[in-house]
């Protein structure tokens, strides 16, 4: 099967079209305004349940990127959206008497997006009905039962459990219960991914020792894949539930009733059978009762990361170490390779010069993210060059920034007056010595401020390497922001670290510049 689903822009267009259709419910705009006004008289706070009924659609947030079998675009028909959650949402909506409307949103930000900015009423995205998630939002009764599944390569006898991995590496989805479980295992190297596809690829390539994921994901991705196998039975069973905003009690009750009905009348059984997901755990869902200890989310206080800085600052600083070394190594490569490119472009014979120009234009003219994917996944797939994530990250940053650096140095070289070369040659120096002794020292002084700018820019750009599973500062911020719900507190600490580090770099260069002058 095709393991890689690029986010499809078609889904967004479809959303817009559906927005257009929802106007049919109230043909006269002023009538709608009036209704809303009357409604606001009845309830102090607008009820999402009434909104949905008024609008005639339930907007549910999810992430179709690498979302099989939940929500995904099938490779043979990329304009369609399918998945067991799509079918579940359709069934749920038809019970509620409204249309179903999918809203694409990044998995990491689904929960904060529910509170604001997400433009969706509920989340249906394989959200675990965990104590952690219940602290952040209201959750419906379960619509699906899942377990944790360890996956490893077919040629591995061991491991059968997380503990068997020792100090090995395991890939997990960020913000998932797998992430929580793996992080709690001492000694284990946890690599965090933003989607459910790329860790399997890295596992195949030997970049990971195992993947810990939800059973449906393991099931879909292992089907027909002879290289991978499940390791041990599923464990840590849990439930997926619909996520709602706190206070949406009406909607919660209606959704709970609808789910119960769908479970009892066999609609969901049909859906899950269609995707090969029906099992004993799903059959037990109608009998589910909430634990008596479950507290409503409003009674829980949001955690303040600033107050708990002793916990969060070291975590962020550890991630900052990755940011710093990736940037320093990347910039070192960029400076060396860029310097060579600039010299070749400026002084080498024509064919070499053209090659340098082509390199510079291509690497400047294409996105860094694309280059990173190409180097990390593309080279492994095409040539079997199995680079480690750290190496690939440094390589991508270095090769990309080398193009920028080359142009910096060229500007520096060209800014040195021609007369300087002539004066050096007139003294009897060879061209090479003239460049080394006279041109380069002056060109470097001219280029230095731009190099500093690029260093600081790369420092921030390095956050992009989280897409290949490197846990750097911005990624850690996302994870901890999600954990605590305190985006401002964690954000302030993260920003402070970025600021202090980049300001220190500027100061360092300023001192260097003064010494060179």
């Amino acid at each position: 099967m095709e393991p890689f689903y690029p986010a499809c822009p078609g889904s967004r267009f479809r959303i817009l079209k559906r927005f257009g259709a929802c106007g049919q419910f109230c043909t006269v705009p002023s009538l709608r305004v009036l209704l809303l006004y009357l409604l606001s008289l009845v309830a102090a706070r607008a009820d999402t349940s009434a909104d949905i009924q008024l609008r005639g659609t339930l907007r549910w947030g999810g992430d179709a990127e690498g979302g099989a079998p939940y929500v995904y675009h099938p490779p043979n028909d990329p304009d369609r959206l399918i998945g067991f959650e799509v079918d579940f949402a359709e069934a749920l909506c038809s019970r509620l008497g409204v249309k179903s409307q999918f809203v694409q949103f990044g998995w990491n930000n689904l929960i904060p997006g529910l509170q604001q900015g997400g433009n969706y009423d509920v989340i249906i995205a394989g959200l675990e009905r965990s104590a952690e998630n219940l602290a952040k939002m209201v959750m419906s009764r379960p619509y699906f039962a899942f377990g944790q599944q360890l996956v490893t390569r077919a040629d591995h006898i061991q491991p059968l459990h997380l503990a068997d991995l020792g100090s090995g590496s395991v890939g997990v989805l960020s913000g998932s219960s797998s992430f929580r479980l793996a992080s709690a295992q001492p000694g284990l190297q946890v690599r965090v991914y933003d989607d459910n596809v790329n860790y399997f690829r890295d596992l195949e390539l030997g970049r990971l020792d195992a993947v810990l994921t939800d059973t449906p994901i393991a099931q879909v991705n292992l089907a027909g894949n002879a290289k991978l196998r499940v390791a041990g039975p599923p464990f840590e069973f849990g439930h997926y539930a619909v996520g709602l905003r706190a206070g949406d009690t009406n909607l919660l009750n209606r959704i709970n009733a609808a789910i119960e009905a769908l479970l009892l009348d066999g609609t969901l059984e049909q859906v899950y059978r269609r995707y090969g997901l029906w099992n004993a755990e799903q059959a037990a869902l109608p009998a589910w009762k909430p634990a008596s200890s479950e507290l409503p989310p409003t009674s829980r206080v949001r955690r303040s990361a600033l107050r708990e800085w002793r916990t969060y600052l070291p975590i962020l600083l550890r991630a900052a170490v990755t940011t710093v070394w990736v940037t320093c190594a990347g910039m070192t490569l960029a400076v060396a390779w860029g310097g060579l490119l600039a010299l070749v472009r400026q002084y080498a014979p024509k064919p070499l010069r053209w090659a340098a120009i082509a390199y510079i234009e291509v690497f400047r003219g294409t996105p860094l993210l694309l280059q990173l994917y190409f180097i990390y996944f593309g080279l492994a797939q095409q040539f079997g060059w199995n680079l480690s994530a750290g190496f690939a990250a440094v390589l991508a940053l270095g090769l990309n920034y080398a193009a920028t650096e080359a142009e910096n140095y060229r500007a520096g070289l060209e800014a040195v007056p021609r007369g300087q070369t002539e004066a050096a040659l007139a003294l009897g120096m060879t061209r090479a010595r003239a460049i080394r002794r006279v041109i380069l020292p002056q060109a470097l002084r001219i280029s230095l401020p731009s190099v500093t700018n690029d260093f600081i820019a790369m420092f921030k750009d390095s956050s992009i390497v989280s897409v290949i599973g490197l846990l750097e500062l911005t990624k850690e911020y996302q994870i901890r922001g999600l954990d605590t719900g305190d985006y401002i507190g964690v954000g302030l600490m993260t920003a402070a670290i970025y600021f202090i580090l980049s300001y220190a770099a500027s100061l360092g260069v300023a001192i260097l510049e003064r010494r060179l002058r």
Partner: protein, 250 residues
């Protein structure tokens, strides 16, 4: 000292694209002689000078400087090119001092980098030459901290540090304010008195009068007239030279 001329040039030609800049220049110069090249802008004076140390390569004619023969259309290589540049030192209109080095380091750069002179000797030579151009107290100044006249004197010292047999000077006083020209003229005249051979391209008639044994008037790529400065400046034979001299003096 050998009696044969230091410089012998016959029928030197140079063109840039279709523009014929030099159309056949002859020059014979003995050791210790100072020749001034004057003439309207764009008549090829600087190009002629640059052909002598091969910053440009001439297209036709024969050139011999000291023991080196320059072939038309060919640039010398390796050691011979270095030897030519060492034999014929050059001073530029815009000085072209190395801005990232001090006055002393500028003077030492050639001996250290090209001749491989040990540091103590190069330093001693640098100080001696700075003293010669009257800049002992400016040894550790950067070019940007020096006046134009001082910079040009450092540039002369830098050229002398290679112990050249001949000095090529490309408008050495043209970039200077009038009151600063005199200090550069004094240095050059003193060098001439000490027996340095020089070819100076200049619009500075005062410099030509004080320095030159012979003045060549270049016009349209040819030597239109030549003679001792007094004769040339008071009784030029050609109309072009008289016209030119009247204009530069006005």
């Amino acid at each position: 000292m050998s009696t044969s001329p230091l410089v012998e040039i016959r029928g030197l030609k140079k063109q840039f694209g279709s523009t014929r800049v030099l159309r056949g220049i002859d020059l014979t110069q003995v050791r210790g002689e100072c020749v001034a090249l004057i003439g309207p802008s764009g008549c090829g004076k600087s190009t002629f000078l640059r052909c002598l140390n091969q910053l440009e390569t001439h297209d036709a004619g024969t050139v011999r400087i000291s023991s080196l023969t320059l072939t038309a259309g060919e640039t010398l290589h390796g050691r011979s090119l270095q030897q030519l540049r060492q034999t014929a030192g050059m001073v530029f209109q815009q000085f072209h001092l190395f801005p990232h080095r001090t006055a002393l380091e500028n003077v030492m750069e050639g001996p250290l980098q090209v001749l491989g002179t040990p540091l103590p000797e190069a330093t001693a030579l640098g100080r001696e030459l700075l003293a010669k151009v009257g800049l002992t107290d400016r040894a550790h100044f950067r070019p940007s901290q020096l006046s134009g006249g001082q910079q040009q004197r450092v540039a002369i010292a830098r050229a002398l540090a290679m112990r050249p047999e001949i000095l090529l000077l490309d408008e050495p006083t043209s970039a200077l304010d009038p009151e600063l020209r005199e200090e550069v003229r004094d240095v050059l005249v003193r060098l001439g008195d000490e027996g340095m051979t020089m070819v100076v391209v200049t619009h500075d008639m005062e410099l030509a009068r004080r320095l030159a044994d012979r003045v060549l008037f270049l016009c349209d790529g040819l030597v239109a007239e030549s003679g001792p400065p007094d004769e040339m400046f008071t009784a030029a034979k050609t109309d072009r030279a008289r016209e030119f001299l009247r204009r530069v003096r006005a």
